[in-house]
Subunit: 408 residues, 2 copies
């Protein structure tokens, strides 16, 4: 008998009927195992509560926001426990507090500091299915906290680590991780296995399957994650530690992100401390910068380009307008019609010529590359947005990802 943590997202538990079918899914898939089920709020509940808060006051305090939002998951756990009981199973629901999920005091974006999970363990030992509220915990002040968007994934992975579960199953409306977005690339292939680092690059590079913090957590504690469909019984994608055979494949997948904007500071004097000034000003406005590119200087000046989430772009511009004059930059350019396409794979570490193969594939389609950035296991290019889909398909072909049987 194994111990399985299963997580179901908001769309899987959107109404009473869906909650009943999740209960049946739990009953089938969990038979013969100890099962912990982590759930999100029903459907769009969290958004609805947020909207209600903003009807009440323009800028709700984060502590009260957490008090409010945490009710969403509490509703789901009670209903799912009832549904399981209705099938004749023993089940018991637990809030984040009751599950012993402790966090720091950073309301609306708390970080997990510890998980005791004594009551969850007790329920399992008593033969009960433990149904735990995702997304929430309590601080050392016994205040209710939430973990931020996608926090239920994190709850599931963290519980799996604390309980030394055999696997953490993330049930979602897609049935696994693909070599590229199947909506863009018709012959995209479901990957049976990906390494944590690959998943991490994919998660932060625009693949929406699994929240990046959860992958980091899973990697840190060696939790095997299985991303699979709520609606289909087929196996999905196993996210796990890197295996030797994975390196045989140069590129595992292609991701793309069309939600960014590109900003360039032009002809910046090439002096020490300039980059720190620029990104200090941007960071001070709570803008998270993604890619940063700076090339060698020419005529003692250089251009600094970076990308930010499109919604944050106005704040980033405002910051730059202040700082551009102070540092003596000539001006700046702004473009939100950009897309980032990336190739990801642990095999890059041991294979040469990968980036060149990417650039060649793009140039063959006459796609101009505006920015390039590389990490150990990924190469990303910023291109004009209208070429995004074409680029993804070209790269998918160039790295032969549509061919079955490449990855063990």
């Amino acid at each position: 008998m194994g111990l399985v943590v299963q997580k179901y997202g908001g769309s899987s538990v959107a109404d009473a009927e869906k909650i009943r079918s999740v209960a049946r899914r739990v009953a089938e898939s969990g038979a013969g195992h100890q099962v912990v089920v982590v759930v999100s709020a029903m459907g769009k509940t969290t958004d609805g509560l947020g909207a209600l808060a903003h009807q009440v006051t323009a800028s709700p305090e984060p502590r009260e926001m957490d008090m409010l939002l945490a009710t969403g998951e509490q509703v789901t756990i009670a209903l799912l426990a009832m549904a399981l009981q209705g099938l004749g199973l023993k089940a018991r629901s637990f809030t984040g507090a009751q599950a012993g999920l402790r966090t720091d005091r950073a309301h609306t974006k708390a970080r997990i500091t510890a998980i005791t999970a004594d009551r969850v363990r007790g329920a399992l030992d008593a033969g009960e299915i433990a149904v735990v509220a995702g997304f929430q915990g309590t601080s050392d002040l016994d205040e209710i906290t939430t973990l931020g968007r996608g926090g239920s994934d994190l709850t599931a992975v963290a519980l799996a680590a604390a309980l030394k579960a055999d696997v953490c199953e993330i049930y979602t409306d897609v049935d696994g991780v693909y070599t590229a977005d199947p909506n863009v690339v018709p012959d995209a292939r479901k990957l049976p296995r990906v390494a944590y680092d690959e998943m991490l690059e994919m998660a932060s590079l625009g693949a929406k399957v699994l929240q990046a913090r959860s992958v980091e957590f899973a990697k840190k504690y060696g939790v095997t994650v299985h991303v699979r469909s709520t609606f289909k019984p087929d196996a999905g994608t196993i996210v796990t530690r890197e295996e030797h055979a994975m390196e045989d494949v140069v590129v595992t997948g292609i991701t793309h992100d069309r939600s960014q904007a590109k900003i360039s500071l032009l002809r910046v004097p090439d002096r020490p401390g300039i980059a720190a000034r620029v990104f200090g000003a941007v960071g001070a406005r709570n803008v998270v910068v993604d890619m940063i590119v700076q090339n060698i200087s020419r005529d003692s000046t250089t251009d600094i380009s970076f990308t930010v989430p499109r919604g944050d772009a106005p704040r980033a511009r405002a910051a730059l307008e202040e700082v551009a004059r102070e540092i003596g930059a000539e001006g700046f350019a702004y473009d939100e019609r950009v897309a980032k396409v990336s190739i990801v794979g642990v095999g890059m570490r041991s294979h040469s010529g990968v980036a060149a193969r990417m650039f060649t594939a793009l140039s063959r389609e006459s796609i101009n590359i505006q920015m390039i950035s590389t990490s150990e296991i990924a190469v990303s290019c910023v291109i004009e947005d209208k070429y995004a889909e074409l680029a993804v398909r070209a790269l998918h072909d160039a790295f032969e990802l549509g061919t079955e049987g490449v990855r063990p």
Copy 2:
């Protein structure tokens, strides 16, 4: 500076706009005081959650029901705290658990065992308005419990007792306690003060203003309760300990209840143990019996009549069908077109002829009395339902309740 506990019911906080106006009401009425606000779930939320539970399974377990229902008040406290903060006031919300409201383990109908309220006191000392979730607490097992219908009143009164508040204000959609239902008696008068025992009789006799358990609790701990309107600034009715002057008034109010059914067991052998058998059988089906009348026997048989809530009448009948044969009763009669009218007043204790005056008033209108029952401070008669309103008006006149200035 005094300490005030205010309670607002579901209809007062039914949407964002109403929550904002409750916030303004709290700001005005609480200025210069330490204020604790107890709130119910928004509008029909509790009913909605209950319906959802029944969509998921036919008979939800009480523990999970409490887990589910407790979210209703948690939403309201967060939103009200936000609304108060939006007005520039310091406010902090507390769940039942955080407010230290401890109960026994009887899910969905828990009884309060203790209130620590340390965090509430801390908030008040820090100059904050404490916003507390009504209706909920936690058991010694750290399980979330609820107090049953009307439980928010009880939370408010219990907190007022624990904090030694100067007054517990119950804000509601009526503006006080009347000498009779103003919909039935046009010249019904708002009572400035009533004694706990009177309020208790009125609460259990059909006046819906205040939950009976809250009144008992207020009496036990000497909490002064002020029932008043959410929407009008006028003073309402003070429910308080009995004062000498109250006895000058023979009858304080007339109540009526049209939601009962009358059941009679006919020609029951007059033997010891018969009543115990009858009401044992009824009680075993969870039917709460209200009035019971049994007269002296004739021909060694007697009739036993009683009233039950109309919705419970079928269950009571089923119980009687079993028991009637066993005890050798001749049969039973059932009538749901009945109403109970009552006169209530602590002055009855020291005045004679009160019941006779009631019966005379009814007979003057040719209203036949089917059953009579008396307590120390109330006399109740069951009559044919169609005479209910006429009876209330006749009694209101007979005891001169429409005349102003009688009660100090």
